[in-house]
Point group: C2
Chain length 222, copies 2
DNA sequence: ACAATAGTGTCTGTCAGACAATATACA
DNA sequence: TGTATATTGTCTGACAGACACTATTGT
C-alpha cells in the first residue's frame, strides 16, 4: 500500500444546456468550506461504497445536485495538482454533460452563459473552459449538439443550435447535406409546426441508435 | 474532509516508440504485489511531496522507471473504478508519451509491438488500447508523429512513420502538400543522405516552435 | 396575390488523389 | 548511359460554399 500521503479525489460535472439561445452552464451553491456558499460546478467525493466507477459518480452528482438526467455524459479530463485546493494535493476527475434545453433543473441550480461567467472557486473556470472547448471541437465533426435538442425538432432549429454552440453562421445547403450523410435523424410523423403564415417545417427525431452515441463525420461538418 | 473511504491514486504512462518499423510500447516488470514480476505499463503512486501535478508525476515515472525523456507527454484518460485493482476502488490517471525511435531506454525496459501484446495486469490492456487509438486519431490531423522521429529526417522517412502508425499507405503528393501547409519542418542545411546510387533526399528538422507542440490541420492529413 | 420560411437545384472554384515527368545521385 | 529514389507538375473527379429557385402555408 502507498507509503506517500494520498490525494483527495473528487468528481466535478460541467452541465451544459441551451438557455435563451446561448450555451449555459449549471452552477450550484457549495455546502461546505472552503468557498461555502459560492456558486460552483456541482461535484463531490467519490463514494467508494456506492459508485461503481467515476462515470457513475458523475451521474449520481448530476441527479442529486442538479436534479437532471443527461443523454450524453462523458469524462473530460482530470485536474490533479497540489495548488487547486488549499487543503492539499487533490484530484478532480472532471466530466461534462449535455442536457436537452427542455429539461428543467432543480430549483437550486443557476444557469449562466458560458461566455459570461464571473470567477469560480478552485480551478472551476479552467475546467469550464476546457469543457466548452471540447464541446465546440466535437460539434465541428459530430452529432454532439443533438443532445441539447428536445425530442423532436426541425432542421432549421438544429442548425441554429449548431450555430449557437459554435458561435458562427453555417450555410443551410451544406448543413442539410451533412446531416443527411450522418444518417442521424428521421422524420417524426405527423408532427408539424404550429400554424404560421409560411410553409411549415418537417419535424425530425434522432434515430434510436444515436440516443446515447455520437455520429462522427470523417470530414468537418462545417 | 471526506467522510467516505478514499480511493488509491496512481499515474500510469503508455510509452510509445517505433521499433523495427512498428509502433511499440515500453513494458517494465512490477516490483510489488499484486502481479509482482509481471510485465506492465510503468506507473506509480503520486508523490504529493515532490510532484507538482499529475503531468510531473508522469515525467518522473518516465525517467525513473524507463530512463527516457519525451518531447510529447500528455494526459490520456483516467481509469477509475472499484474493479480494476483487487485492493479496492482505485484511480489511474493514465498518460501517454511519444519517444524518438533513436532514444535508448533503460535496460529493464522491454519494447513490445502494440498490436501483439499478450495479457497485461489490471486494466493495462485497455489503457494501451485507448492510447493507441488516441495516437492514431491525432496522427490523422496533426503533426504528432514527428515526435517519433530522430533530430533530422527525410520526407519519405516521415511518410513511412505516418504509414506505420496509421497502418495504411498514403499518397506521396498529398502527404508532401499537407506537411508543407503545416509549415512544420525546415531543411537541415548541408546534411544529406549517405551516398547511394540515386538522388539523395533533403533532410529536414522540426521547426523550433513545434518542439513540444503540435501543428494541427483543419482538414484531415490523409 | 403576398409574405415568410422550408426545402431543393445547380454552378464554380478548390483540392485530394492519381499519375507522369523531371532531377540528381552513383555505378 | 542505366538505375533508383527524390521532387515537382498537372489532370480529373468530387464536393463545399454560394446563391437562386421552387414549395407550401396563412393572410
Amino acid at each position: 500500500m502507498p507509503e506517500h500521503a494520498q490525494p483527495i479525489v473528487t468528481v466535478d460535472v460541467v452541465i451544459l444546456s441551451l438557455q435563451d439561445g446561448a450555451l449555459n452552464v449549471a452552477l450550484v451553491r457549495r455546502d461546505h468550506e472552503p468557498h461555502a456558499g459560492d456558486w460552483s460546478l456541482p461535484g463531490g467525493w467519490v463514494h467508494a461504497d456506492q459508485d461503481a466507477d467515476a462515470l457513475a459518480a458523475a451521474y449520481r452528482i448530476l441527479a442529486a445536485k442538479a436534479g437532471l438526467d443527461s443523454p450524453y455524459l462523458e469524462q473530460l479530463k482530470t485536474f490533479a495538482n497540489r495548488h487547486r485546493d488549499a487543503r492539499g494535493w487533490s484530484v478532480s476527475i472532471a466530466h461534462y454533460a449535455l442536457v436537452p434545453m427542455t429539461q428543467a433543473a432543480a430549483p437550486q441550480v443557476k444557469w449562466r452563459p458560458v461566455d459570461d461567467i464571473g470567477s469560480l472557486p478552485f480551478d472551476h473556470a479552467e475546467i469550464l473552459r476546457t469543457a466548452v472547448e471540447r464541446v465546440r471541437s466535437k460539434t465541428a465533426y459530430s452529432s454532439l449538439p443533438v443532445h441539447l435538442m428536445p425530442p423532436t425538432f426541425t432542421l432549421t432549429e438544429l442548425q441554429r443550435v449548431y450555430e449557437q454552440v459554435l458561435g458562427m453562421a453555417l450555410d443551410k445547403r451544406t448543413f442539410r447535406r451533412r446531416i443527411e450523410e450522418l444518417n442521424l435523424v428521421e422524420p417524426a410523423a405527423a408532427a408539424r409546426d404550429a400554424a404560421a403564415a409560411h410553409r411549415p417545417a418537417q419535424r425530425y427525431r434522432v434515430k434510436r441508435r444515436f440516443g446515447k452515441e455520437l455520429a462522427m463525420s470523417d470530414r468537418n461538418l462545417v
